[in-house]
């Protein structure tokens, strides 16, 4: 698909945290939401999504539970832990500093 960009190394975790912060979501929902919010610019590969979810869970940033999702079957819903919320704040701040700095250089 034209116009789609590969994710920057390390940004997938940030995106997941941000998306999940808005409410519990399952894996498919997370991928969809990133795709929709980015106006179909960012497509998350399933091959990276699930390992990333497992990784964030192991680090204690995400928790999961099996619940009925909106349209029927049981799904594994991910949500942020307190540590995840804190991590998200830090990473967002860092991201803004980073992009701000890049912008300063590029627009000079």
């Amino acid at each position: 698909m034209p116009g789609k960009t590969d994710l920057l190394q390390g940004t997938l975790d940030l995106l997941i945290l941000k998306v999940v912060a808005q409410g519990p979501l399952h894996g498919y929902g997370i991928a969809q939401k990133i795709l929709l919010t980015s106006k179909e610019m960012l497509q998350v590969q399933q091959g990276s999504l699930y390992p990333a979810l497992h990784r964030l869970q192991r680090k204690g940033l995400l928790k999961s539970e099996w619940k009925e999702s909106g349209n029927g079957p049981m799904a594994k819903l991910y949500s942020l832990t307190a540590a995840g919320r804190k991590q998200l704040q830090e990473e967002l701040a860092q991201w803004q500093r980073y992009t701000g700095a890049i912008a300063l250089v590029l627009e000079s």
């Binding site: 399952h26 590969q45 594994k76």
Partner: protein, 898 residues
């Protein structure tokens, strides 16, 4: 089994299913039919197994789960190839085990410190003459002297010197004296007689060593004096073997050489003496030592400044170095002589040797042999490791299809490497465990080989540090060897492999073949060294053992008796020896019985110098005083002259029988009736002269290795201890009971000590040669087996790889015989190549081995050719099976496989 990951596994399945369902729903919403939607969802999701595998790696406990899988899988792989596994485990166990044992032995003999507190503070005080050893001192001395590190060094002092030296440095060091030799004494406790080695020590000896007793106490200074109550300290070993491990022995009496001593204390078990293999079991104060009291011409040796018989040990005070102590001792030393040297610049110098590791007699004797053995065992270990590398490499190649399969199913490279490493580690663990058993057995065997001449084995306890060090080194090496095939396996292009199906192997396989070939070449080269060593040392042993000693060594029995320390005084001894000879000769089964002062074939003995007329003095002559029955034991008649008679013994006749080679050297038969001067007497006195009355055939008197000139004189009437030699008409075991009963009838209280046959006595003197031969044979056989396995493996692999090529050759008209020869030549070329690489190695090592050989060069054509024959014959065995298999191939079969 319920493990956390089992639940996680199920959840992951459901999660992925859910994701796929959502995708399907999405596609259905877009208007696709259900089947189409399912297909498109799957395509979009991608490799389900890969995703799962990557998720697994992200999960908690992933490594435990992975390890468990690796171990289970590794064990399954090992079970599936039992021969390969067994070969690897055995190589490893033998290689590591033998190395551990040899290193342990080296540690005990060469490196380990004495089991005393702060051993580094100990030094041995010795002296060095400026030129030759001064004769007036050496003649009346007891101790050891000779070249150490190329310089003449003596370790004995007069007691006066010891006291003066001790006084002069009392603030900077504590000096203690001991007899540098041990002496056999007859001991009797609670009516049970035995024999033990006694060492005399100064009163402060144990306190200088800072030892603690197991039981009782050690000596006080006041006990070390003439006339003081006699006390004794015994070793733990003696306490166990002779005193029944009874704590109540402290304070009781024990009889040593017929004098009563009170047992003051027992040493701790870990104190083995002043060196590993120290035979001393009984310690007495210097002034109470049997050797000092038993009389030396009526004089007490400690009072005699011309009699030098104590060695000195010093413990430096903290902060004092040996170099600081040396000048003070050096100044005092010459002033303590009975006759001071006129020119002090020519006076002997004091020398301080580090004493942490104890007396150095074993170190000096066994350094070179142990280094040679260490080198050989290192080669063996290297061969074993090469073999394992080759086995792992071959297995990795054989498993390439499996690996390709795993990679395509999502197994990451790092995970693959880990799998290989786990398998190596598994192998190392099993082999390493087995190696401890091998090391334990070998170490015990080595301890027996190195047994002291008096029969005490050196305890080669396996030190856990060494086991761990050797084990860790080998495990490291093995992991390295395991890593190489793992890396190779993990970096292969997987898709290509699956496509080719492993049927016709191309580039990767050819590279492996080269590596395997190089490994086999190295193995062969190292085997040359080991096999040649085995051949050389075996020939050495056989050469010495089968040499003609000049007499029939069968049916000879030897044993020691010590009448002089069991209550016989001078007046009764002569009659005793006469009765003994008469009654033994009359015993059924006995052909001849003789008595000698020095035990024959015992390496050491009585050495002297003789001078005949105005000829040059001949040093290093082996002497012995013997009964009239002695010489006929060896040869029925003399070459010329007559044998001794009992009248010679009774009258202290100054007569001598000399060996034929000495007679020839002195001038032939004409020497009969002329005088031979013994030039070893005290200086200033006229040397005693002996009339030569007979010439005997030359025999090996002291060992199979040296044939010194020999002089025999009549048995002295006051010989306190002697060896009885009996020639029997029947095998010794059959004749021995009658001999024992004769001895019992003669004197019930006189023990027969060290009863052996002459054959045993000879083999005892060849222990070192036997140790070398046995160990090198073992190493050589192991090396051969390992290299044959290695060569076979490479050849078998190579021919199977070339099956199709050989099939084509056969189809195009090659005869099976041509194929046979082709494969044979290829294998033999490899073997010969290895031998050619190995020969320079042998040449390099030869000079270390030469010192251990007797009348033999390390690189004799005979040895080299037999070693090469053995190697090439073994190589042929290794190559012939793959060669026959290749020549028996049917072209139709191999071509169909393609």
């Amino acid at each position: 089994m319920r493990f956390p990951w089992n639940r996680a596994e199920a959840e992951m399945e459901r999660e992925i299913d859910h994701h796929l369902q959502q995708l399907v729903l999405e596609y259905e919403r877009q208007g696709y039919k259900h089947e189409e939607a399912v297909l498109m969802a799957k395509r979009e999701f991608g490799g389900r197994e890969q995703v799962k595998e990557r998720c697994r790696e992200e999960r908690r406990w992933a490594w435990v789960r992975g390890l468990r899988q690796d171990v289970i899988f590794g064990a399954r792989i090992m079970r599936k190839a039992p021969v390969v596994t067994l070969a690897a485990v055995i190589s490893l166990a033998l290689g590591i085990g033998a190395s551990t044992a040899i290193v342990s032995l080296m540690d005990v003999v060469l490196w380990r410190d004495l089991p005393v507190p702060s051993p580094k503070q100990l030094v041995f005080v010795k002296w060095q003459p400026s030129g030759q050893f001064p004769r007036e001192i050496v003649d009346g001395s007891a101790g050891s002297m000779g070249p150490e590190d190329g310089e003449n060094v003596a370790d004995f002092f007069s007691y006066t010197s010891f006291r003066a030296l001790r006084q002069s440095v009392s603030k900077r060091a504590r000096l203690a004296a001991f007899t540098g030799f041990t002496n056999p004494v007859s001991v009797s406790y609670a009516g049970r007689p035995t024999v033990a080695q006694e060492r005399g020590v100064s009163g402060n000896f144990f306190s200088t060593l800072e030892l603690k007793p197991e039981l009782g106490r050690f000596f006080t200074e006041s006990e070390d004096a003439y006339g003081a109550p006699a006390t004794v300290v015994v070793s733990h070993r003696f306490w166990v073997r002779a005193l029944g491990e009874d704590p109540a022995v402290i304070g009781t009496s024990i009889r040593i050489n017929n004098r009563l001593y009170v047992i003051a204390g027992v040493l701790r078990r870990d104190f083995y003496g002043l060196a590993p293999g120290d035979a001393s079991e009984i310690y007495t104060p210097l002034h109470q030592t049997a050797f000092m009291l038993d009389g030396h011409g009526g004089e007490l040796p400690l009072d005699n400044d011309r009699f030098w018989c104590v060695s000195i040990l010093a413990r430096l005070a903290p902060g004092v170095s040996a170099a600081q102590l040396q000048p003070a001792l050096g100044t005092v030393f010459p002033s303590t002589w009975s006759r001071r040297p006129k020119d002090l610049s020519k006076a002997p110098r004091i020398r301080l040797d580090e004493g942490a590791r104890g007396l150095g007699f074993l170190r000096r004797e066994f350094r070179n042999p142990l280094m040679v053995l260490g080198g050989l065992v290192a080669l063996l270990l290297a061969i074993a490791c090469t073999n394992i590398a080759n086995l792992l490499l071959a297995r990795a190649t054989a498993r390439q299809k499996e690996i390709a399969m795993r990679v395509s199913l999502g197994c990451s490279r790092s995970r693959l490497m880990r799998q290989f490493l786990t398998e190596s580690a598994l192998l190392a663990a099993v082999g390493g465990t087995a190696s401890i058993a091998v090391a334990y057995l070998t170490a015990n065997l080595l301890g027996q080989f190195l047994a002291d001449r008096d029969g005490f084995p050196i305890a080669v306890a396996l030190d856990w540090h060494i086991v761990i060090i050797v084990g860790a080194t080998s495990a490291g090496a093995l992991l390295l060897f395991g890593l190489f095939p793992a890396w190779r396996g993990a970096t292969l292009p997987s898709a290509a492999w699956l496509k080719e199906g492993g049927g016709s192997m191309r580039t990767a396989a050819r590279r492996k073949w080269t590596t395997g070939r190089v490994l086999v070449l190295i193995q062969m080269a190292m085997s040359v060294v080991l096999v040649l060593s085995a051949v050389v040392f075996t020939r050495n042993l056989i050469g010495i053992e089968s040499a003609d000693p000049g007499f029939d060594r069968r049916n000879l029995i030897l044993f020691d008796i010590r009448p002089g320390t069991s209550g016989y005084d001078r007046s009764r001894l002569e009659q005793f020896y006469f009765n003994l000879s008469e009654q033994l000769s009359a015993t059924p089964g006995v052909v001849q019985a003789g008595v000698a002062w020095m035990r024959p074939m015992n390496v050491g003995g009585w050495w002297g110098s003789v001078r005949f007329g105005h000829q040059k003095e001949i040093p290093g002559v082996s002497m012995n005083s013997v009964s009239p029955g002695y010489l006929p034991l060896y040869s029925p008649r003399l070459i010329a002259g007559r044998n001794f008679t009992w009248r010679d013994v009774t009258s202290d006749a100054k007569v001598a029988v000399i060996s034929e080679d000495l007679a020839r050297k002195l001038g032939g038969l004409g020497v009969l009736g002329r005088a031979l001067a013994f030039t070893d007497g005290p200086p200033g006195q006229k040397p005693p002269e002996f009339e030569i009355i007979g010439i005997s055939p030359a025999i090996a008197a002291t060992s199979m290795k040296d044939r010194p000139f020999t002089v025999w004189v009549p048995l002295s009437k006051d010989t306190k201890e002697a060896t009885v030699i009996v020639r029997t008409s029947q095998p010794p075991q059959i004749a021995l009971p009658a001999i024992r009963s004769t001895m019992r009838n003669l004197d019930r209280n006189l023990p027969m000590v060290d009863v052996t046959t002459m054959a045993e006595q000879i083999s005892k003197t060849l222990q070192r040669e036997r140790m070398f031969a046995t160990l090198c044979d073992g190493f050589g056989i192991l090396a051969l087996v390992l290299s044959v396995v290695g060569l076979y493996g490479v050849m078998a692999y190579n021919t199977s790889r070339r099956q199709s090529e050989i099939g084509v050759r056969l189809a195009l008209g090659a005869m099976p015989r041509d194929v046979l020869v082709m494969v044979l030549l290829e294998g033999l070329r490899l073997a010969i190549g290895g031998v050619l690489i190995g020969l320079p190695l042998v040449w390099l090592g030869a000079k270390y081995v030469e010192k251990e050989l007797f009348h033999m060069k390390p690189l004799e054509p005979g040895s080299v050719s037999s070693a090469l024959f053995i190697l090439l014959a073994s190589a042929l065995v290794a190559v012939i099976i793959p060669a026959i298999r290749a020549s028996a191939l049917r072209p139709s079969d191999t071509l169909r496989q393609e």
